[in-house]
């Protein structure tokens, strides 16, 4: 019986390895192509394993093709958006989880409703609005939209988290004469550091990968973020796939590293807020 069971387990590995190969081969192919000199004409047979350690494509993409610049743009936009999304959302979530005020539940339904609005649906009016405010092609305009979109769902999830925090500490602060601001900054925020961390990473990677809004709003080449820089880069260097994939890897690696390091927490976070991902 036991023997039969372990045989069954061994058989499971065969299809699993098949799945793993299917998942990995495209990445391997990308890496190998990025490490191949002058892949203008596609090598025949295709190269799946790098033949030498050739990094000129990366240098080329990073320096000559301004990907260092796009990388910093993306880093800056994502970092600012993440901090502001979490600040605004946690403050709102605190009020929704700890205070009573007339109309609270109606307002909260408004947040729920906003979560359901697909971002693609609002693209046209957002663009027109930014044009009227003269914020097209500025990071302020881009960030305002990112924050506006990020706030409802993050407020919702953080409120759920805050509701489960113990209230005793807050009462102690109240007795000592602390006000709500003290409670929020000295108790709620420190206690929710793990949740804030998870949501920060999810928000960061969402903004890091955001494509359509940036494509619509940003016009100046120097201001491009990585996803749109990649798209336009591919348009210009149609056949230089070594360079294209070197640039792609520059865009992908930070997110991959964060996920692999934090995978346990994040995969759970992904289960909880799968809707946040496109």
């Amino acid at each position: 019986m036991i023997k039969k069971k372990s045989m069954g387990r061994l058989i499971c590995y065969i299809p699993l390895i098949g799945f793993a190969i299917m998942a990995l081969v495209p990445f391997l192919y990308m890496l190998a192509t990025a490490m191949t000199p002058k892949a203008y004409s596609m090598p025949y047979p295709p190269i799946l394993f790098p033949e030498e350690l050739y990094f000129d494509n990366f240098l080329d993409a990073w320096k000559a093709n301004h990907f260092s610049r796009y990388f910093l743009n993306s880093l800056m936009v994502s970092a600012v958006a993440t901090v502001l999304i979490l600040f605004v959302s946690s403050a709102g979530a605190y009020a929704f989880s700890r205070m009573t005020f007339p109309g609270r539940d109606v307002l909260f339904y408004l947040y729920l409703f906003s979560m359901m609005v697909p971002t693609t649906t609002n693209l046209i009016p957002q663009f027109l609005m930014m044009r009227n405010l003269h914020l097209v092609d500025t990071y302020v305009g881009l960030l305002l939209i990112y924050i506006g979109i990020g706030v409802p769902s993050n407020t919702f999830f953080l409120r759920n988290f805050f509701l489960n925090l113990p209230k005793e500490l807050e009462e102690a602060v109240m007795i000592d004469g602390g006000n709500r601001w003290h409670i929020y900054t000295r108790i709620i925020l420190p206690l929710s550091r793990p949740a804030l961390g998870t949501f920060a990473i999810l928000a960061f990677s969402n903004v890091w990968d955001e494509f359509l809004i940036a494509l619509t709003m940003i016009k100046t080449p120097d201001k491009r973020t990585l996803p749109i820089a990649l798209r336009l880069f591919q348009g210009q260097h149609r056949n230089d796939w070594g360079l294209i994939f070197a640039a792609s890897l520059i865009a992908v690696v930070p997110v991959l590293i964060i996920y692999i390091v934090m995978q346990k927490k994040l995969i759970r976070g992904g289960t909880m807020s799968g809707m946040l991902k496109e």
Partner: protein, 303 residues
């Protein structure tokens, strides 16, 4: 409880608002200005003919933009493609995701490793993964998929995958399945871990084999998760666009467009904002109804 007078209730409410206001004002303002107001503005634009250059409404045209959705053959193709993409990638992702979850659940060593590997496509940017797929399915004998299939003897000459309507759509479907399986696997894995092992042991004693157990225990036990995934993935299918923009750009001749691409092109290539806004409303309504269904489903699950 004593009923307080209306005056004192208003006063209390006002004080409560003064306390809560600093905490909620930021979020409320951002959400209203950048999500809620655009939503209403979009509905309004959809009933008008909009002059993008001079930034003004030319005239209110009523439902004309919506009527155009019904008459426009290109829109029909985009609708058909979105529907087919959803009908194929949703069951595809769910089937492979469930199989994968069962396999990972059954093994002892390497669970985390396989989980990370299969989750890689999920976390990698859509833009980058689309570029990889475009390269994998390059025409000519040096394209990776062509090369592999020719070596295996499945094809005898290279296929121009992205130049033909149906082969290009197949590439988009494969992309959708490949990108999403890892996420479905993680969700199913969580559900599988909630099935008490006693259920399986009991059926094993009754002599049920692994396949029988899969159909008579696993599938019924993860039914709620299946319902949840069905709705969430369908919403995802209707909202997908990056892969089309990156891999085919609708080519050949718009036959691989999906709803959001077509909307985007109507707005920002043709500058037909009124028509695009109407398309956006249609997509928004579909997604909204699906989301309501999903909330219903997850509420039923909790009860």
């Amino acid at each position: 409880m004593l009923r307080k007078s209306l005056g004192s209730r208003i006063r209390v409410g006002f004080v409560q608002w003064i306390h809560a206001f600093p905490f909620i004002v930021g979020g409320l303002l951002l959400m209203s200005v950048f999500v809620l107001y655009p939503l209403f503005r979009n509905v309004y634009i959809s009933f008008t003919e909009y002059d993008v250059i001079n930034n003004q409404t030319v005239q209110v045209v009523g439902f004309e933009n919506y009527a155009r959705c019904f008459q426009d053959p290109k829109y029909h193709i985009a609708f058909r493609n979105t529907l087919m993409y959803t009908l194929i990638t949703v069951p595809g992702q769910m089937f492979f995701g469930l199989v994968l979850a069962c396999l990972i659940n059954a093994i002892n060593k390497g669970k985390t490793l396989f989980r990370i590997i299969c989750y890689l496509p999920v976390i990698t940017s859509w833009v980058v993964v689309s570029l990889i797929f475009k390269y994998l399915f390059m025409s000519g004998k040096a394209g990776f998929v062509n090369y592999t299939l020719m070596q295996l003897g499945v094809l005898d000459k290279p296929v121009a995958w992205l130049q033909n309507e149906w082969t290009a759509n197949i590439v988009l479907w494969l992309f959708g399945i490949w990108k999403g399986v890892g996420w479905v696997m993680v969700i199913y894995l969580a559900a599988l871990q909630n099935i008490p092992s006693s259920v399986y042991e009991a059926s094993e004693i009754d002599g049920a084999g692994p396949i029988r157990r899969f159909f008579s225990i696993t599938i019924p036990m993860v039914k709620n998760t299946t319902n949840y995934l069905l709705v969430v993935l369908t919403i995802g299918g209707f909202g997908a666009y990056i892969h089309v923009m990156m891999i085919t750009e609708g080519a050949p001749l718009g036959t691989t467009n999906q709803l959001i691409n077509y909307m985007y092109n109507s707005a920002f290539s043709v500058y037909d904002f009124g028509y695009a806004a109407a398309q956006a409303v249609v997509i928004g309504l579909i997604v909204f109804v699906l989301t309501l269904v999903q909330r219903r489903v997850s509420r039923d699950q909790k009860n």
